[in-house]
């Protein structure tokens, strides 16, 4: 009897993932192109930078916060990287006299710039006690404004070859992007599971006052979380920009919402204290698979938004259900 109930609960709790599995199987059978290696590779490339954004957001969610500035930071970093890495002879070069720097140095500059905004997010949330939802909403607008000022709303293109190689290349058939994803996920997984900072993060999400009484430096931990997140957005922005060979201020728009949705689908609780790196990856994968399946089925893009919206609401409802479920 109780075994049966368990199976039912498991089915409902993982409903979204299962539904998607069904959809994926259906699409693979009916549209052979979907299951081609090329498409899978394409999916992985698309998902990689999004996982990196979601990993950043997950830390904020686990401490009962959120980060609505994620998408705009991706955009700003993407534009900055693009501007600094335009070919010397690119038409309409935005900073014509800017020296030709090493790609990785440019990446570091982007990370440094974003981490300043992350630091401000952290201070606003931790020291001024502004709810993360509001504080980072403000930052979202500020960062967008800055991106507009920097680019003058002009699209950026004409990238240097080394930028393109670093972001679009591959070794032995494995895209670099995929390798970056694995490295980022491994580092974050290590931090969440094997460092003091990780344990403090979960403790704050579980019960902030109890964590403080146990000697956890709550403010410092939160600041580290928001700065780390910002660095991850910068990396993602850099990758998005190079991958598509161009950037504009619209890059990254509403990526934070996709990231939050993906985290929730992957079991990061919006009530704080719970969440795993594997879950975040699964969440993004599910979301990307959904988008891709709908495309292959030839669903009108407008309807795709409706489907995505439904998935988000249902995912969160199922997540909440787990905590009120009767034992």
């Amino acid at each position: 009897m109780s075994k049966k109930i368990n199976i039912k609960d498991t089915l409902i709790n993982n409903g979204i993932v299962l539904l998607l599995a069904v959809l994926v199987v259906y699409v693979s059978i009916n549209v052979p192109a979907f299951r081609s290696f090329a498409n899978l590779k394409n999916l992985a490339i698309n998902a990689a930078p999004r996982v990196i954004v979601a990993l950043g957001v997950s830390g904020c969610l686990i401490t009962k916060g959120t980060d609505l500035s994620a998408g705009r930071m991706v955009g700003l970093a993407g534009c900055l990287a693009g501007i600094m890495l335009q070919k010397p002879d690119a038409p309409g070069k935005i900073w014509p006299n800017f020296p030709q720097l090493n790609v990785f140095l440019v990446l570091l500059i982007c990370m440094a710039v974003c981490s300043v905004f992350g630091l401000i997010n952290g201070i606003v949330v931790a020291y001024l006690n502004v709810p993360a939802f509001i504080g980072t909403l403000g930052m979202q607008m500020i960062v967008y404004g800055i991106a507009l000022v920097v680019t003058n709303a002009v699209p950026i293109g004409g990238y240097r070859a080394d930028f393109t190689t670093v972001t679009q290349g591959n070794v032995a058939g494995i895209p670099f992007l995929f390798i970056y994803l694995v490295i980022a996920a491994a580092i974050i997984w290590f931090v969440y599971n094997y460092t003091r900072h990780g344990k403090y993060m979960y403790a704050i999400g579980g019960n902030e006052s109890a964590a403080e009484v146990s000697g956890v430096n709550v403010k410092k931990t939160k600041i580290i979380i928001y700065v780390t997140a910002a660095c991850l957005y910068a990396i993602a922005g850099f990758l998005f920009s190079g991958k598509s060979g161009g950037a504009s201020v619209n890059l990254g728009m509403s990526y934070e919402l996709e990231a939050i949705a993906a985290c929730t689908i992957g079991g990061v609780s919006v009530n704080g204290g719970i969440g795993r790196v594997s879950g975040v990856i699964i969440g993004v994968a599910v979301f990307e698979l959904l988008k891709s399946s709908l495309q292959f089925l030839g669903v009108n893009t407008n309807y795709q938004f409706i489907a995505q919206g439904i998935v988000i609401v249902v995912a969160i409802a199922l997540d909440i259900r787990k905590y009120i479920a009767k034992k």
Partner: protein
């Protein structure tokens, strides 16, 4: 009228990895108080939660007034005349006392077709019910402004006001003072004479003796037996609960206080309503008790020493050196630890495992190369503590919120044993802990003192205060009013200083 108000037959309930209840019975006669006793984790709270449909029982039947019932949630239980005061309070701190009392059943008044909440009636009724339990509070005060004990009183008044025929009190007195307990008991007796039945869960033998008519004892999720209170002695009760004889309540207090370890001078709160000009000294190897009535500001003073609350003036010295404490982090860095009174609010990390809960305050000791935590060593530490305090759990990965109340308290104590501070402040350390485990905790306290640590214990239980303190400071109305040691440390003297103003 049926012979029993409530009958529970053959109740079983399993959680993953634990059989919490195995064929348990409970029969409560009308107009009686039925004590339910057993060690921490014996299954008392679980049995009651099954009754109220908070957990779904695997097997068993429930009869109320001889009629078979199938109760699936607390609201339904209330309709059948069953009410419960929970071990862990779940009030809404930001709403008023009256709103908490009438949560979910607000009195309404109609303006034509429009029904609105009748605040006037609600507040007046609340005053009446609060007076009924001798708690003269303003019903418009926010619940969160009350102390834990006062909140509990409100919770009891609420159950009383719901006109229930069976009220479950799950450790209602664990944070009440003797006066408050007396007030509660007089209400219980009054209601009893009007035919209301009670199930009374407590670890306090003296109270059970005073109030209970019948007793049911459980051990490790099984039913041991039921007796009339006149037919069973205290020793027999303990024996049935623990499964063996317990000879002493307190271990010998053979630690020897040495030189001064910590000195607090002129601590005054930033709030005028809180502690004023408090000074005291703590010696190495000493257990310093803090006595007084609830509301004397003992907790507030100690929380200020630990940096949770702020002071307007005052100094603190450790080993003769002045230190500055602005937050708990500072206190811990200086080797001061604190087990707080509010387990739910500032103790447990609910959605984390026992292992994480034990190790959170001492992760610094387990860093390898300054970065990676040595998870193997942490697991050893946790296992060590789970064993030492006999914490009942299937594994250290179990979430702390799935433990019984007493076992959660033991986990918090382990957290500070692991942190190993020089000064350990313990605010009501044995709250909700069974007789056997209390002895073990006293032993640990004395052991720590022998290692040269200083221990401060706030306790509202007079025998405990007298039994395990080397010296006692008494507080009354925001100030330290007396210091007692040796021969002078008697109940009369403590009460004299505790009621000085």
């Amino acid at each position: 009228m049926a012979e029993y108000r409530l009958e529970m037959h053959g109740i079983s309930k399993s959680f993953p990895g634990v059989k919490a209840l195995d064929n348990v019975n409970l029969s409560v006669r009308p107009g009686t108080v039925h004590a339910l006793m057993g060690e921490n984790g014996a299954g008392k709270s679980t049995l009651m939660k099954c009754l109220f449909g908070i957990y779904k029982m695997d097997e068993g039947e429930v009869l109320v007034d001889g009629q078979k019932m199938n109760i699936s949630n607390p609201d339904e239980a209330l309709h059948h005349g069953l009410a419960m005061v929970h071990q862990e309070l779940q009030p809404v701190p930001d709403r008023t006392i009256a709103e908490n009392m009438y949560l979910g059943r607000y009195p309404l008044k109609s303006y034509g077709p429009l029904k609105v909440i009748d605040h006037k009636t609600m507040n007046e009724e609340t005053v009446k019910w609060l007076e009924n339990v001798k708690m003269p509070f303003d019903p418009k005060r926010k619940l969160g402004e009350l102390s834990i004990s006062q909140m509990q009183s409100v919770e009891i008044a609420k159950a009383v006001s719901q006109d229930a025929r069976l009220i479950i009190l799950d450790e209602p007195t664990s944070s009440l003072t003797e006066n408050e307990v007396e007030a509660l008991f007089s209400i219980v007796r009054d209601l009893k004479s009007r035919g209301v039945s009670f199930v009374y869960i407590s670890h306090k033998m003296a109270e059970i003796r005073q109030i209970a008519d019948d007793i049911t004892i459980m051990r490790d999720g099984t039913y041991v037996g039921s007796w009339n209170m006149n037919d069973i002695s205290d020793n027999e009760i303990v024996k049935q609960m623990v499964g063996r004889e317990l000879t002493n309540v307190y271990p010998p207090l053979d630690n020897e206080p040495g030189e001064i370890l910590m000195e607090v001078k002129g601590y005054t709160s930033i709030s005028d309503r809180s502690f004023q000009d408090c000074s005291f000294k703590l010696r190495r190897g000493e257990i310093l008790g803090f006595g007084g009535l609830v509301g004397a500001q003992r907790t507030e003073l100690m929380e200020a020493v630990f940096g949770i609350r702020h002071i307007k003036s005052g100094e603190i010295f450790l080993n003769g050196k002045q230190i500055s404490i602005k937050c708990p982090h500072d206190a811990i860095k200086n080797g001061i630890g604190m087990i707080t009174e509010d387990r739910r609010g500032t103790g447990i990390l609910g959605c984390l495992s026992i292992a994480d809960n034990v190790s959170i305050a001492s992760l610094d000791n387990y860093l390898e190369a300054g970065v990676k935590l040595n998870t193997k060593k942490i697991e050893e530490l946790v296992q060590d503590n789970v064993g030492k305090l006999s914490i009942k759990t299937p594994s250290s990965k179990e979430l702390i919120r799935n433990l019984s109340g007493g076992n959660q308290q033991k986990v918090i104590i382990s957290r500070w044993l692991a942190n190993n501070p020089d000064v350990l402040i313990m605010d009501e350390p044995t709250r909700g802990i069974d007789v056997g485990a209390k002895y073990e905790i006293y032993q640990i306290m004395i052991e720590l003192a022998k290692q040269g640590k200083g221990i401060i214990m706030i306790s509202s239980e007079m025998p405990e205060l007298l039994g395990v303190s080397n010296r006692i400071m008494v507080m009354c109305n925001k100030r330290i009013t007396g210091e007692l040691s040796g021969e002078e440390a008697t109940q009369e003297n403590v009460m004299k200083y505790a009621t000085q103003f």
